[in-house]
């Protein structure tokens, strides 16, 4: 086959280009929809968890945690202090906010029932009767489409009481966030879901013990849920075979930036970054300069490093991460300092502000990059960037501080000459890029 992998077949995107693919009728008739649910409901919950475990499905939200294992962490029969049974909640993380990532939106708009089916199966597997879909605040259209899909599923009896005569009840509710990037972090998401400030919680306790509304909860990504029906339908072996030894299946990669055909591609994981760029039509308008392989938080790679494979482990070995599958391609017209500043400005704006290092550090880095771009930088600044990053990474409640240091640290390590040029020549003006500087000066900071 075209991707040099004889087992590969699109799991999620097979029909997304066909008209009407988002409707329940299309999903049932063409995609054999809700058959996996039928099968799963006849199995014991533990068997479903085992099936997912064996498929090597890993969380598609960014951290890559094995999904089956996460489900098996859920307590079997939780009780409160008085011995009364506690409900368990299944939460779908649809707060897709990572810059460069747009794969979940494709699932929402083109094949929502795959995700709904995955959630019902997940609910059956962990013994939950209620699911929440936490949708990022800006997705008005997508949330309406999802609500429509949920209504259709209720009408056909896939949701609600006694699903398909199995005695299993499952309700699904959507919840629109207020537009904070940090709410993609699972405990911040739970806080936001409860109506509190979207700030990550101190762990332990983990959501499997104390999650939404204090109840045991399981949070998974949209793409993770969308892969579940396939695993149940076609069997774990087929899914596992498509991937590498430690992570099964396919991945949705959102390729953006300087490529000729930016889009979401469903790909096997044994492809290198260079191959993916080739699939996306090759680099547009110049030579490849740098690639951010997994959403803005992933440290960037230089053109020379781009023959690395895109599975979780190979990317980790290369000092970056698979993240949420947002591949940002930059050609040689890009000034790396400027590009990094754009990301840092985003992080400065999105830090929740709980932890000292992250609140002050993300602000400091953005300001420092701004000064360097405007010609006020010094050589000591360049040395100090690494020191600030060293004081931030791994020191806070959640991984946000690490995410900030990803682009900042990799840019100064790998493209130091560009920083030095800006320092010596007096900023962007000195290298003839006034155009890009002007709009950054006014209103650059809130």
């Amino acid at each position: 086959m075209m991707y040099n992998n004889e087992h590969f077949e699109p799991v999620i995107t097979k029909f997304v280009n066909e008209p009407g693919c988002e409707t329940i009728e299309f999903y049932i008739s063409k995609e054999n929809g809700y058959k996996a649910l039928e099968k799963a409901l006849k199995m014991k919950p533990a068997e479903v968890v085992e099936e997912v475990k064996k498929s090597n499905l890993r969380g598609r939200g960014g951290a890559g945690f094995p999904t089956g294992m996460k489900w098996s962490f859920m307590p079997a029969n939780p009780v409160d202090a008085n011995g009364n049974p506690k409900p368990k909640y299944l939460v779908c993380n649809a707060d897709e906010g990572e810059p460069g990532t747009f794969k979940d939106r494709l699932i929402f708009t083109k094949t929502p029932h795959k995700m709904i089916e995955g959630m019902i199966i997940g609910g059956h597997a962990i013994g939950s009767n209620k699911g929440f879909i936490y949708i990022r605040g800006e997705w008005f259209k997508e949330s309406r489409l999802m609500q429509k899909a949920i209504d259709d599923a209720y009408a056909k009896g896939f949701l609600g009481k006694n699903i398909l005569g199995s005695g299993f009840d499952f309700d699904l509710v959507i919840y629109l966030g207020a537009g904070a990037y940090i709410c993609g972090e699972e405990t911040a998401l739970l806080n936001s879901l409860e109506g509190k400030r979207g700030e990550p919680r101190l762990k332990p306790p983990f959501p499997a013990q104390v999650g939404a509304y204090g109840m045991p909860s399981c949070v998974n990504n949209v793409e993770t849920f969308a892969a579940v029906p396939y695993i149940l339908d076609k069997g774990w072996e087929k899914y596992a075979k498509m991937g590498t030894e430690r992570s099964g299946g396919t991945r949705l990669i959102g390729v953006s930036g300087h490529v000729n055909k930016p889009a979401v591609y469903e790909l096997p994981m044994n492809l290198s970054i260079n191959e993916i760029i080739e699939i996306a039509g090759g680099v547009k308008g110049g030579k490849l300069k740098a690639v951010i392989p997994g959403g803005a938080s992933a440290p960037m790679l230089t053109a020379a490093e781009c023959d690395v494979k895109t599975d979780y482990d190979s990317l980790a070995k290369a000092g970056t991460m698979a993240g949420s599958g947002g591949l940002i391609v930059m050609n040689d017209s890009v000034n790396i300092v400027e590009a990094t500043y754009t990301l840092l400005k985003f992080y400065e704006h999105e830090s929740c502000g709980q932890c000292s290092q992250c609140r002050e550090g993300s602000h400091w880095l953005a300001r420092m990059f701004h000064r360097i771009l405007n010609g006020g930088g010094t050589q000591e600044d360049l040395d100090y960037i690494a020191k600030i990053c060293g004081n931030m990474a791994g020191q806070t409640i959640c991984a946000f501080a690490d995410a900030v240091t990803g682009p900042a640290l990799s840019s100064i390590k790998k493209f130091r000459s560009e920083f030095e040029e800006l320092v010596m020549k007096g900023g962007l003006k000195g290298i003839g890029r006034e155009q890009s500087i002007s709009h950054r000066v006014e209103g650059a900071h809130v």
Partner: protein, 516 residues
């Protein structure tokens, strides 16, 4: 609460408002007792109670004085956000926050390793980037945790060359009549937010916005509405929240700090009296888990103003030609003795703000001095409170209905309340210390005032004949004990030296005795 609990108010051993004051764990000596788990901190092994966090174990055994902290406060839920208390735990990949990490058997902790100190230096540098370094004009200077920890852990210099964050509208923002906010100094520990959420449960404060421009605001236009606002200014680690009553009155390093007790209600909150040259500048609460926890109410906190009131009578006064005139105590007592001896009946009313010792002294010794029958009763004077049975909690924290400190202690002496709340004798002696009410008296009633009085109170007695005023010491100026509403007896010593002409009840009684 048992009636036998008795202890002395003293400064906590750890000189910190924010320490839990945990005591070392005593092993159960019985052979069948399970051995307590052990944790190794900085090379020494300590026993702890299951459930203790690393910080609590370190506090039990005073490992290195203290682990630095901003967001942690023992009276509130744990946030774990300031990252100042991180310690190195062997086998853990990252530094752990000691405030939130439970100690485990066999855990090996380093609180001062290079990695830890480097992290703390990092936190200090970050916190100081946007903090205005204007300590000389900041009211918190001298008792500021940012200053203290910076001396110990800070980098000394900063590489922050950018412009500092300025909250122009919140540089001196009144959150209420009592508390002023300077947002520029805030280090975002959010103790204040958690205090109003979880301790007073009034939800007065909230952080708005995200990240570095996260700002503290009152949830409603009314601002702060709870009765414990002063506590916010106690535990605010920096000069962001300041108590208007104290703000810019005195530099903290001039204050002498002595423990005492608040006499504003029957709770008996433990306080520290902050004074300079025997002038009181403020009260702050001392931690006492059995009585007030870490807190005290605002009316108690402001009550030092009554004591420092220039209208307070601090020398003996005698009635002469229908006016009260300053005199010596000897002359006054001589005159009063004659009047009392000639009186047809004498009554002594003891306010429930007298100490247990004063009540006993007046009841047992006083009648024998006069050599005649004196009817003794007590008077509370708080609206709706006659005896300790009428006392009740006024909120979910500390405030009590009874606004005098020692109703139970006076009752304990076998004294009964003033019948009908009215006096009926020829001459009545009213002994009170500024907290108990003044009993109702008919016009022309001859009355002797004893204790803490001020001229405004005496003016309300214009239709009575005040024969004389014997100036007495206020609670924080004297020694004694109170029995609070829960039956806890608390002893206290003078926190300041009285500089006027007032004397203790013992001294007055002795002098009176020597005159006869």
């Amino acid at each position: 609460m048992s009636n036998t609990t008795e202890f002395e108010i003293k400064k906590p051993k750890v000189d910190l408002n924010y320490a839990s004051e945990k005591k070392p764990v005593a092993s159960d000596p019985s052979p069948e007792a399970k051995p307590l788990p052990k944790v190794t901190i900085d090379g020494k092994t300590y026993e702890f109670k299951p459930g203790d966090t690393i910080m609590q174990v370190a506090e039990r055994y005073k490992v290195h004085e203290e682990i630095p902290r901003y967001c942690y406060h023992p009276g509130m839920p744990i946030a774990g956000t300031c990252r100042m208390c991180t310690v190195e735990v062997e086998k853990a990949p990252k530094l752990m926050t000691s405030c939130s990490t439970p100690a485990a058997d066999g855990m090996v902790v380093h609180t001062r390793s290079d990695k830890v100190l480097k992290s703390r230096t990092g936190v200090m540098e970050f916190l100081l980037t946007n903090h205005p370094l204007d300590c000389p004009v900041c009211d918190k200077a001298g008792e500021c945790e940012l200053q203290d920890y910076n001396y110990e852990y800070g980098p000394g210099t900063s590489n922050f060359k950018e412009e500092k964050r300025v909250f122009e509208e919140a540089t001196t923002k009144k959150l209420s009549d009592q508390v002023t906010l300077n947002m520029n100094r805030c280090v975002h520990c959010e103790r204040c937010v958690r205090f109003t959420d979880d301790v007073t449960k009034t939800n007065d404060l909230v952080m708005v916005n995200r990240g570095w421009h996260k700002e503290l605001e009152a949830t409603t236009e009314a601002g702060l509405t709870n009765d414990y606002q002063g506590c916010l200014t106690d535990f605010c680690p920096v000069g962001a929240l300041t108590w208007n009553d104290f703000r810019f009155k005195k530099r903290s390093w001039f204050l002498s700090k002595k423990p005492s007790i608040c006499d504003r209600c029957s709770k008996g909150c433990n306080i520290e009296v902050h004074s300079d040259a025997e002038v009181v500048y403020r009260y702050v609460p001392i931690h006492n888990e059995m009585v007030n926890g870490h807190w005290m109410c605002d009316s108690g906190r402001s009550s030092y103003n009554d004591l420092m009131n220039p209208m307070r009578v601090i020398s003996p006064l005698m009635n002469h030609q229908n006016g009260l005139h300053s005199t010596t105590l000897q002359a006054l007592l001589g005159e009063l003795s004659i009047q009392l001896k000639n009186a047809s009946s004498v009554q002594l009313v003891i306010g429930t703000d007298a100490t247990r010792e004063e009540a006993a002294l007046l009841k047992d010794k006083f009648p024998s001095i006069l050599g005649k029958n004196v009817s003794v009763s007590y008077f509370n004077g708080t609206a709706g409170v006659t005896s300790s049975a009428d006392d009740k909690k006024m909120d979910n924290l500390l405030k009590m209905k009874d606004l005098t400190p020692n109703t139970k202690g006076v009752e304990e002496q076998g004294i009964s309340p003033l019948s009908q709340g009215e006096v009926s004798s020829d001459i009545v002696i009213v002994f009170r210390n500024g907290r108990a009410g003044i009993p109702k008296m008919k016009a022309g009633q001859k009355v002797i005032l004893w204790g803490v009085w001020n001229h405004d109170e005496i003016k309300t007695l214009s239709s009575q004949t005040v024969l004389g005023v014997i100036a007495g010491l206020a609670t924080i100026e004297k020694e004694g004990s109170f029995k609070n509403t829960d039956g806890i007896v608390q002893k206290f010593h003078p926190a300041i030296v009285h500089k006027g002409g007032a004397l203790s009840a013992h001294q007055v009684v002795n002098m009176w005795k020597s005159l006869n």
